[in-house]
Symmetry: C2
Subunit: 443 residues, 2 copies
């Protein structure tokens, strides 16, 4: 078979998305047979490559004979002449196409990944990730995710933040002192998988003032909800020389604006394919936890005033309220009680028992946690004493506060939750290529 | 003290690197007291911020009184008038400066981080990372590292690669089938920390054709050498629809060219500060392992022909040779023997026992490993049988070869080694913010 198109072997490959720029030319496509339809002496192939789909028309007995043995997912080279065809993808198709097998299929693929909707349940989707990811909608999800990640990095680079990579094998926990962390057998020692770069990003704020990190973190929480996975991408930032915690809210506002504009520019087609809507940016409304609880009571009849946190249901309701009242898909909830926030959180000097901290909720779920940190050594000593924490395992971290730490704070976003909510998916697992949860350790 | 400069409170902060744009103006600087010199009634402060250093002159008894209690690393605000001064950093300094303490120092800093050379040994450097990183040269190392990372990502984005994030908690090993991998207690199961994204990046090449990932990987190798750390940043790429393994060599060539130009553009000052040289790009020479061994024998009297790999000493020698003969700081060594390469490596059909694989050496050390992979299911079955491997734990991975995988290959670079060699450091640990090795689990 190779001999047949040998003469075209030096042809440069064209991507499916580019075929309409080659009307009238003989071109070479490479990809997977996405669909194959035989109608007597004529066959139609829809070819899939990284850029999308394109149609090729195979005419004549000789070429059609070759198709007998072929099934979808066979990897092929197709040469042919580009002809305008309004009904085909990209408004053109290949005529008089010739086909060469690059890599055969061993078994028929068990899932119809070439359908717009695969109509399989979540477990089947995830169990078969290596092939279900080939579905065009699945591919689109993670292209959007990559753009969200890119937007985050690009925003902070433009704002003079330095990217850092801090260790994930650690010996102490940032928030829980080791609870709900995975244990690693580290040679003859016991280590833990980092649940957050918190302590390290504060250290690095003492070095570069402004830092960000995009990396996996690990939580050994035995949840089995649609909101939790145990390995997730944490988008972290930390920033020194803030005048107040409001600097953090302001830069978060700007980040969302930037992200939304970025997605408008880079991901419009993928959002369309997925039937999702890029949120319109409006100034994000902001309310204290207490105020949110009063709204929940008044508007939704929820008796929650005085509770230390919002329940998942309350997060959905307050987002509903913010969308209706302010036209915003995001809302900041601030001033969480001191006892619900980690020891490094700064209390509000004007409101004892409350902290200078915030969450951002997005379309019904918390996507960001942040706040101002303590920066004086004495304040850490006092707070840790109050909580009956020892300094053991925190010595390196605490040392920075002895040698001059400016006022600072930061926040972190969960990339998978963000992607899930941008795209209106129904489970965080759909926004992780190979999710890890209490029951799932493969693929 | 706060009252004194209250009137300037709304002044916008200027970075030290920008002061010469404000000659004659009253400005506000914020940062750490890097150096403090008192000469009778006049004092000189060198202030350090994220952008660099600037000098301020403090005159008058009242302001100088404040300095009595101050030591280096105190975090301060300084206001003053910018005056041209050729001998000061950035050609200007602040006169008539007024100072306000933002955050005090609790103890004198135990290491003189304000010296050009700290003159401490590696263990002291690393044990005290949270503060030694504040040293200007240390900061420069990781600014360069971030640019290397940025260049890698930017290059592959420009070449239509999709960034992916694959799991680091896995149940099987890519290369060793579990040997030399860290064990994780994953709820009630046993899991491993990924030593490479190899299997996942091949899966993803079946989805997006071209993918890259920049993430930590973990090796439980009990080495204690200057070349190994146990948690490192792996810069991975994988690319489908290659015509031959030479496509990988070609794109690696282009990557190095791009990286060198990127560093010329973004990191010139940091290289200067560190006394390091950005390599000049020349076409990278390429030789088979056998040829390299013949050169080693002929030029250096090393009897190594027939050995399955190069020893560290040989890597240094062959780099020396390539630098002298071709003027190149990089050299490709190709065609490693099949038995030394992982099971997924493609053998050279024209040279049995040898593989279509390569390493890139850079200034004496291996920084890249890559090659073409098998893409036919039968070939995997055969190779795994040959090696007496079972398919257990590899089922998800192997499934992709049943359903059409194009010819593909890829490579990975170690970010810390690359940084180390770009900057002429003497130990890989100097190129990791918080290195992990057999003895080191903190800070």
């Amino acid at each position: 078979m190779i001999g047949i198109i040998l003469e075209e072997e030096n042809m440069k490959r064209v991507l499916t998305s580019e075929i309409n720029k080659h009307i009238g030319e003989e071109i070479l496509l490479e990809g997977w047979i996405h669909k194959l339809r035989k109608l007597g002496g004529i066959s139609f192939i829809v070819l899939r490559d990284r850029a999308g789909l394109a149609q090729a028309v195979i005419d004549g007995a000789k070429e059609n004979d070759k198709l007998k043995e072929l099934t979808t997912e066979t990897v092929v080279k197709i040469t042919g002449k580009v002809v305008k065809e309004e009904r085909a993808p990209h408004g053109a198709e290949l005529h008089d196409a010739k086909i060469e097998i690059l890599s055969p299929v061993k078994e028929d693929i068990p899932i119809a990944i070439n359908k717009k909707e695969m109509n399989i349940n979540l477990d089947t989707l995830l169990d078969n990730r290596p092939i279900t990811l080939r579905n065009p909608k699945q591919r689109a999800i993670f292209r959007v995710q990559r753009e969200v990640l890119d937007a985050f990095r690009s925003f902070f680079e433009e704002h003079d933040f330095t990217e850092v990579n801090t260790p994930k094998i650690v010996c102490s926990g940032a928030e829980t002192g080791g609870a709900e962390m995975f244990e690693v057998k580290y040679f003859k020692k016991k280590a833990l998988l980092a649940q957050s770069p918190q302590l390290y990003k504060q250290i690095m704020a003492g070095v570069y003032e402004r830092v960000f990190e995009t990396a996996y973190v690990y939580r050994a929480e035995p949840h089995a909800t649609s909101r939790h996975i145990n390995e997730y991408m944490s988008l972290d930032m930390e920033m020194a020389f803030i005048d107040s915690w409001m600097d953090l809210i302001d830069i978060h506002q700007d980040l969302i604006k930037y992200m939304v504009e970025w997605l408008e520019k880079h991901s419009k087609n993928d959002f369309e394919l997925l039937g999702a809507t890029i949120p319109k940016y409006v100034k994000i409304p902001q309310m204290k936890l207490k105020e949110a609880q009063e709204i929940l009571e008044k508007e939704f009849g929820e008796k929650c005033v005085g509770e230390p946190d919002l329940e998942p249901k309350h997060e959905r309701q307050i987002c509903e309220y913010a969308a209706k009242k302010y036209g915003s898909d995001f809302v900041f909830i601030t001033h969480y009680p001191s006892k619900k926030r980690p020891f490094y959180t700064m209390d509000d000097p004007e409101s004892p028992g409350e902290t200078l901290s915030f969450d951002a909720l997005f379309r019904g779920v918390e996507v960001t946690t942040g706040g101002q940190r303590l920066h004086l050594y004495e304040d850490y000593q006092e707070k840790m004493k109050e909580r009956k924490m020892t300094e053991e395992g925190f010595e390196d971290y605490l040392s920075i506060f002895k040698y001059g730490m400016p006022p600072h704070g930061g926040f972190c976003l969960g990339l998978e939750r963000l992607t899930e909510k941008f795209l209106g998916l129904s489970n965080i697992r759909e926004a992780s290529l190979f999710p890890r949860d209490i029951n799932r350790l493969r693929p």
